[in-house]
């Protein structure tokens, strides 16, 4: 990834918690075995014709997601931490039509056992983004203060005007 072209940008996080009726070992496998990931990754009715994951620290992720109309959305990433069966950390970047990363997201997924079920907590935050605007925001070091959701609420009200 051309991380040299990216810049640090944000502190906000998207947190999603989910409980699965399955043992932790199985949920962990569903995240780390490419054959399993290809089955569930992406919105409903999307497929993953390319799904490669090397689930170990430094290992690569390459997923090409295809929507029902045939448009392909490529994505790449790198595993930062893989601690079986409790924790996965990876960076990922959505690519633009020239193959350049648009922004980089750090995702942390933790799995804990809860009476035979598995509680999964996913935290995702934008850590870098490609700045066509880089020259304009050089020296920017302040993080975002609002969470993604609060920002979304703010912009949603603005967008109605």
């Amino acid at each position: 990834m051309a991380t040299g072209n990216l810049m640090a940008s944000s502190e906000q996080e998207l947190v999603l918690t989910r409980v699965f009726d399955a043992p932790r070992k199985l949920v962990f496998k569903a995240w780390t075995d490419p054959k399993c990931v290809a089955v569930w990754w992406g919105p409903h009715r999307f497929t993953n014709p390319v799904c490669e994951l090397d689930a170990r620290p430094g290992g690569a992720i390459r997923i090409h997601m295809r929507d029902p109309t045939g448009i392909v959305y490529p994505m790449t990433g790198i595993f930062q931490e893989v601690i079986e069966p409790e924790r996965i950390v990876f960076t990922s970047a959505a690519l633009d039509d020239k193959g350049n990363p648009m922004f980089e997201v750090l995702t942390t997924v933790t799995f804990s056992e809860q009476g035979g079920k598995t509680k999964q907590i996913m935290r995702a935050r934008v850590i870098k983004m490609t700045p066509q605007a880089a020259p304009y925001i050089a020296g920017m070091e302040q993080g975002w203060t609002e969470s993604l959701e609060r920002l979304a609420a703010f912009v949603a009200t603005q967008a109605k005007e």
Partner: protein, 119 residues
Amino acid sequence: MPDHLSTTLAALADPTRRAILARLSAGQATVTELAAPFSMSMPAVSRHLKVLEHAGLITRGREAQWRPCRITAAPLKDVADWVAHYRKFWMDSFDRLDDYLRDVQKKGKKHGHGKPHGK
């Protein structure tokens, strides 16, 4: 995802600029009016306005003296859409993961391995 989204996100990634946008959401304002609440020089405020203008988040009037700033909603909507899409991406994926885990466990039971007291 729209190409200019990173520009918009970058422009929004600053509390002063978000405060400026919040002020403009209440109506147009001049640079002097926008600078008032911040302990910041006019050139510094002007620089922020340039970033916002470049990202298409504001437009500035052509009247030489006034050049009032107005908020433009479209790029903000792109950001809201992206956040919604990203959230939906994961919600959908986890629905599918849930289905997958159910299927795998059902199959495990049928084949006599997996859970000990399968049918």
